[in-house]
């Protein structure tokens, strides 16, 4: 994609839209968000199987379809738009990227990625201890060697996405001062997964604690790069949600009459929707550009935080405006707006709010980084 999506990409997007329209209407989202699991295993299998979503960004050599970051971003955007409840972000994006970016050999990667790609297993990625941004953590989770590839993990990880459904938990902590990826099987002793009461019930998260839990060392990993990957996909998911909110606000204001005229004819409302469109288009540019950066493997740290902060502001604004333009009804449970609004609020802080990403993106600019190093 050089600024424009190709015809194939556009067709791909449309097929995704059809799938989610059919399998993830808000009635289904509402049903699933009240369950402990949080998604429908049948639909997920279907998505992995017929649509191949779980394998989309996994290299062909590991059984995936080997599409690029642009296609994967399209998937995320459409999932964000439909609020499709699934382990996609946790298993495919987070855990899949971690395996793929790790120093593991081909055999090890294949072992995990092929099963993630086929949907045979669900994996989760446990990184966060305290800080919003992964790269800012000083990990205290301890890895004690048992033999060459086996370790005992002791510590706690928080906000692990889809851990409730995971067959394997991938854990990142330091080993000899290097970020290292470990794999813990669901039934390992000393592993405790406890579900969190989260603001956004469409995305389940858990706290995981490890008490001398056996773990296999997968390999070392560049945490900043992993973080950039996840930020970019998350951001693309977010603009999908923002688009849905904008569409909903437009549809509603066109239908609604007060004082004898469509409220969409009031200039104040027209101008606000125009501004929201601008904000969204700007954020889309930032997110698409970031996906392209991944594809080109260029400036991904800067672009990822740029995308996240743009998506943060656009999604939150879209949520607030959509509620406001619906009036009282927009604040009710019955109205769907809050489902996306809560996703917006949660996504805003996931991997850092705008302030944190602002700082990160500036430090990714070499001239800035070198001046600040000199100054400190």
């Amino acid at each position: 994609m050089e600024y424009l999506f190709t015809k194939e990409q556009t067709q791909f997007r449309e097929s995704l839209q059809n799938f989610f329209r059919k399998h993830s209407p808000t009635s289904e989202v509402r049903r699933l968000m009240e369950t402990q699991l949080g998604f429908d295993r049948e639909v997920w299998k279907n998505a992995c199987g017929s649509l191949g979503l779980s394998g989309i960004a996994i290299p062909e050599e590991y059984g995936g379809s080997g599409f690029g970051p642009v296609e994967l971003s399209i998937v995320c955007e459409e999932m964000g738009r439909s609020l499709y409840c699934s382990p996609f972000l946790g298993s495919v994006i987070c855990a899949g990227s971690a395996i793929n970016l790790s120093s593991a050999n081909k055999e090890t990667k294949e072992q995990y990625l092929s099963r993630i790609a086929s949907g045979e297993i669900i994996a989760a990625l446990a990184v966060t201890e305290n800080k919003p941004m992964w790269g800012d953590e000083n990990f205290v989770t301890a890895a004690t060697p048992i033999d060459k590839n086996t370790f005992q993990l002791t510590g706690e990880k928080n906000f692990v996405i889809s851990a409730n459904a995971a067959d394997v938990i991938l854990v990142i902590t330091n080993l000899e001062e290097r970020a290292t990826l470990f794999a813990v099987e669901r039934d390992a002793e000393g592993l405790d997964i406890s579900d969190l009461s989260v603001m956004d019930p469409t995305r389940k998260m858990s706290a995981c604690s490890f008490d001398k839990t056996l773990a296999k060392c997968v390999g070392s990993i560049d945490l900043e790069t992993l973080c950039s990957h996840v930020l970019i996909y998350l951001s693309n998911e977010m603009i999908g949600g923002a688009q849905q909110l904008l569409d909903s606000a437009i549809d509603y204001t066109k239908l609604r009459f007060q004082f004898g005229r469509s409220i969409a004819s009031f200039q104040a409302i027209k101008h606000r929707l125009a501004e929201l469109l601008l904000e969204l288009e700007l954020a889309k540019s930032a997110c698409y550009q970031a996906a392209q950066a991944l594809s080109d493997n260029e400036k991904i740290k800067e672009r990822s935080s740029l995308a996240k902060s743009a998506a943060n502001e656009a999604f939150l604004k879209a949520g607030l405006e959509c509620i406001q333009l619906h009036g009282g009804i927009g604040f009710t449970w019955e109205n769907d707006t809050h489902l996306w609004f809560k996703r917006a609020k949660s996504s805003e802080v996931l991997l850092g709010n705008s302030a944190i990403n602002y700082e990160r993106l500036l430090l990714a600019i070499p001239t800035v980084d070198s001046v600040l190093r000199r100054a400190s």
Binding site: L255, F257, Q258, G260, G319, Q324, E334, H338, V349
Partner: protein, 418 residues
């Protein structure tokens, strides 16, 4: 200056002679209503004493000092009372006023509709006179007490062929009839403070119109004017009176029930009071970027408080309360939204959580999903800006499109609002 010492003496001696905490709540209040001391600013012939508001507040003070329970005030009962006092017939006053004061009968306000939030006069709930009864069909929404109300203050359209303000009538409706269905409406923050009310051939007997047919808008203005004036007061009632007698427990339950819908309102306002505290507790204060946000919020919050104080002082000094209230409402809306944003920054990952176990016992999470309401409830920010522009700044009004017969005014295609 009158220090009202005579009046104080008089109320004091009446209390000494009559107050008896061993009575049950209703019995005590019946006595109170009959004496006139329960509503001293009401006319003498209507359970009052014809005193001024100032004298009335002296009496309230004395009641409060002595821990004496006064007439029932919760909910919209006093809105009902002032409206009936001003527009009611002798029979209506005799029938309804006393049980309002005693708390025996509860009221609700049935003004807003799904299709007319900001545009009250655009009501489409209809009342048709058939024989000696008005037959009501339609839907109301956004009232807080319909689910335990005995009577409702209902605005409905009785004439579709005149301009919208002229075709409305005002009714007292019996809420206990099966043709009235009340459904609680859950909000996005999980609370259920409001009701939807559906009327399917509900009945109002002919004598229960308030005012005359087609003059309901003027009657509604009485209710709304009092609502604006008394908003603070109605919320302020709290049990700061000591006492073990069961009458106090009855009283507290009454208050609790009445305040139930409002318990998240502090969160709706943003809980700016918790900003600095949380920032210090979480250590977020050490982050220079977050400090900027906190300070920016602090400036807004302090400025808004002082602006409110200035408006109040102006009002006290006898300058009439005008549309300046809209400025305060708009400021409150900004404060709440800004608070939610700065809380989010301070909370960090904590904002992913909700419920009792989350930061500040879940209060902050509730802030995040409650503040969007403040710029809508009680007149949207957009309506406030119109008021400020037209009535404070004197800018021209928008052209109107709803001045002809209401039948011809463009309305929502269907009444379902989602």
């Amino acid at each position: 200056m009158n220090d009202f010492s005579e009046l104080r003496k008089e109320v004091s001696s009446w209390i000494n002679a009559n107050w008896d905490p061993s009575l049950d709540l209703i019995t005590w209040r019946k006595k109170l209503a009959d004496s006139g001391w329960g509503a001293p600013d009401w006319p003498k012939e209507d359970f009052g004493m014809g005193l001024s508001p100032e004298e009335s507040s002296i009496i309230e003070e004395e009641f409060s000092k002595k821990g004496v329970i006064g007439a029932a005030q919760s909910g919209v009962r006093l809105l009902a009372a002032v409206t009936i006092l001003e527009h009611g017939t002798r029979e209506q006053k005799d029938r309804y006023l006393k049980p309002i004061l005693t708390g025996e009968e509860n009221w609700c306000q049935l003004f807003s509709e799904p299709g007319s939030g900001s545009d009250l006069a655009g009501a489409t709930t209809r009342a048709d006179l058939i024989g000696d009864e008005w037959i009501i069909n339609g839907q109301k929404v956004w009232n807080t007490s319909a689910h335990h109300a005995d009577f409702g203050l209902l605005v409905a359209r009785t004439n579709w062929d005149v301009p919208k303000h002229e075709g409305i009538s005002y009714f007292i409706i019996d809420m206990r009839q099966k043709e009235v269905e009340v459904r609680q409406l859950r909000q996005m923050n999980g609370h259920a403070s409001f009701n939807e009310v559906f009327f399917t051939d509900a009945r109002v007997s002919r004598e229960n119109i308030l005012g005359t047919e087609g003059r309901g808008w003027q009657v509604a203005m009485t209710t709304l004017a009092y609502e604006r004036r008394s908003f603070d007061r109605a919320r302020r009632v709290s049990s700061d009176m000591a006492g073990d007698a069961s009458i106090y427990r009855e009283y507290e339950m009454e208050l609790e029930k009445a305040n139930e819908p409002y318990k998240w309102y502090p969160q709706r306002a943003g809980r700016g009071d918790l900003v600095l505290e949380t920032a210090i507790e979480t250590g977020a204060i050490e982050n220079a970027a977050i400090r900027q946000e906190i300070a920016r919020f602090h400036v807004l919050n302090e400025s808004a408080k002082w602006t409110a104080a200035r408006a109040k002082a102006a009002q006290k000094a006898g300058q009439p309360q005008g549309p300046e209230g809209s400025l305060g409402k708009l400021a409150a809306s900004r404060v709440a939204q800004s608070a939610a944003r700065v809380h989010t920054s301070i909370m960090g990952n904590g904002a992913l959580l909700t419920g009792e176990g989350s930061l500040k016992d879940g209060i902050l999470a509730e802030v995040l999903v409650s503040t969007p309401a403040i710029s809508i409830a009680g007149g949207t920010d957009e309506i406030q800006k119109n008021i400020i522009a037209e009535r404070v700044l004197g800018l021209p009004k928008e052209p109107r499109f709803d001045s002809g017969p209401f039948r011809d005014v463009q309305k929502n295609a269907d009444k379902s609002s989602t």
